[in-house]
């Protein structure tokens, strides 16, 4: 792997780390419940991107399945939380 690509991977991971800290600020600060739900969804998405980039770094395919699972869990948890805020119940 050339230093160009490993530098780009380090840059992307650093950007994701800073972005996760900023989104974590929004998660802790709020002020509304839907802001926090959106922040959790974005954190799931950042974890997905980190998995993909680490997969490129290691040249391994196994990280792709983890990324797909994180995408699915993020959708299910966000939909459940949004439904709970909207109706007071997840399944009516």
């Amino acid at each position: 792997m050339s230093p160009l690509l490993s530098g780009a991977i380090a840059f992307a991971l650093g950007c994701y780390a800073i972005a996760s800290v900023l989104v974590l600020y929004r998660l802790l600060r709020g002020p509304r419940a839907q802001d926090r739900v959106l922040a959790i969804d974005l954190l799931y998405f950042h974890a997905l991107l980190v998995m993909l980039v680490i997969g490129i770094d290691h040249g391994s395919d196994a990280y792709f399945e983890m990324a797909l699972l994180i995408a699915l869990f993020g959708f299910v948890s966000t939909a459940a939380m949004a439904k709970f805020i909207l109706r007071g119940e997840v399944i009516e």
Partner: protein, 137 residues
Amino acid sequence: MNAVPFWVEAIVAVLLVMSGILVLASSIGCVRLPTFIQLMHPSALAYTLGNWVTCLAAALYFSALARAPMLHPLLIPILLSVTVPVTTVLLARVSLHRARLAGVEGTPPALWTLRADAGEPATAADDGASDRAGGSG
């Protein structure tokens, strides 16, 4: 494992730098914008362009590594293009519903209240709307 040609690594590096900048820009917008409806726009930037750029980089790199088309990383943007609009519309409805409950100025009213004000004759659709009003109220 085969060696990856340099021009593929250069393209992958450019795509990864782009994705990092896009995700960082979206999270900066997430911190700076005040209302929830404004907050939905920077996250859409990350979900569409940032996601596509990263998954294209992964697909390109693994294709060059295996010397065969490996398109399975593109499943992730396809999956997210199905699920993200669902969560976005749900959260937008949450925002509207809570703004209505709190009585915020300038919140658009629910459609069934407009139809009730216009005094339209009761139809099957109106009955369904009033049922919903009774259920949520």
